[in-house]
Symmetry: C2
Subunit: 261 residues, 2 copies
């Protein structure tokens, strides 16, 4: 795949210059990608507290200083206003625009939250011969609303969204241990089998992403999902929020392997 | 030891009623104890961000809602204003009083931070036959200022304080793996051997706590320490802060073993 062996700083430069505007899936193999949520300072405390209380669905990789477009921890010097290929702007909960650069919208009270994503552990699953069905089938991972409540914080509250991967029964322990070693990117599963017990009625109709085949001898395994914080933010209908456009993530300089330590 | 087999809720009740006012070391064997820092809301965001950026020295077990004396996560219904045996009040960086109950000082803008402590992993070290010298010698753990910078956040900045335990060379890997399994209470060591490399001049003169014997065949191993956030807070000379008095910790309902998962 194009750019799969590229250096993250080089790909971010191409994105910043407007020469790459597509999805980031498969780019910079081995490096962590992150979801982005930008909120005004007046609700940033509540959101930071929400993430602290719900680390499995909301694993923070970096939180910027208020007003600063620069990152320092996961990609020193990167500019969150230019270094993602596509952004979405929401006002009072409604999508009001898509942009490839948000420099012109920047405000001195913006705080950027970079949130880890399960891409980071899927490489380890595949390397250890644990099947990842949505990759095999060329689809998006299936995601479902559940009845598992998050701990509330200020204006933010809601239930956990999960991603699902069908795993052969005998490999469930291995999949648990591999992902449990990466608590900074959702970690171990939150539920194994019995979708109805967490409020999922029909695995064939995910709430987000695509359905995948569950074969005989496999059980559905559920991981906390980064759609959770996005849902929770939207549900509060904030006056102004910017996120990455789906699939158009931030590519960090952090190797996935270093998320284990 | 008295109260070593007691239930945390029962001990908190005795503390709340003023019938226990001493140190909590050794009480409620198997349950996590926590450091307390109470700050006004106007600096709570900076402190929460500081802890998010420095999880090894500042592992947050719970952050209260602003103005609420109640905890919900690590001890449902516990009252942070009455359930610790002794508190210290600092104004503009100066100690201005010790109290066994801070109900009368409570303000609607207070936020309580409960921070994990290395007591939680020392039981696992002992259980696995890794010596813990300061316990053997009946002393406080030796702690040292270092030159390892924390990531700053707003008004809060400073270097990491470490605790030191002398470990036989052959047991360093075991001690690393045992403590690495508990990232919510400081986790794996930050440094092994070579104290001078992190700015420690003389192990015989710790900056806090007591010196301990280092025997032939042992190497000093250093863990990030909960004194770090206390130092960082004091260094900023906040107008008002309340902490637990040294050794007079909050006893939670969380079993140490559950801090691994």
């Amino acid at each position: 795949m194009e750019y799969s062996q590229a250096n993250p700083a080089e790909v971010r430069r191409l994105i910043r210059e407007g020469r790459l505007t597509g999805q980031t899936s498969g780019m910079c193999d081995g490096y962590a990608q992150a979801n982005l949520v930008i909120l005004p300072r007046d609700v940033a405390y509540d959101f930071l507290l929400f993430c602290q209380r719900n680390p499995k669905p909301c694993p923070l990789l970096e939180v910027s200083d208020a007003g600063s477009r620069r990152l320092h921890i996961i990609a020193d010097g990167a500019d969150v206003a230019t270094d993602l290929p596509k952004y979405r702007v929401y006002e009072n909960g409604e999508l009001t625009g898509e942009h490839t650069d948000i420099s012109g919208l920047w405000r001195e009270d913006f705080v950027s939250f970079l949130i880890g994503c399960s891409f980071s552990f899927e490489g380890d699953l595949l390397a250890a011969d644990v099947p990842v069905r949505h990759i095999e089938e060329g689809r998006n991972v299936p995601m479902y609303d559940t009845n598992i409540p998050c701990l509330s914080a200020g204006v933010f509250h809601g239930n956990t969204v999960v991603s699902m991967r069908p795993i052969p029964h005998a490999l469930v322990p291995k999949a648990t241990l591999i992902t449990g070693a990466m608590p900074r990117v959702h970690g171990a599963p939150v539920h194994v089998g019995a979708p109805e017990a967490i409020g999922i009625r029909d695995l064939a109709h995910p709430d987000y992403g695509d359905a995948v085949t569950i074969r005989e001898g496999e059980t559905p395994v559920f991981w906390a999902c980064g759609v959770t914080p996005q849902n929770v933010v939207m549900r509060s209908r904030p006056a102004f929020v910017i996120t990455h456009a789906p699939g158009h993530m931030f590519i960090s300089d952090v190797k996935n392997v270093n998320l284990k330590y």
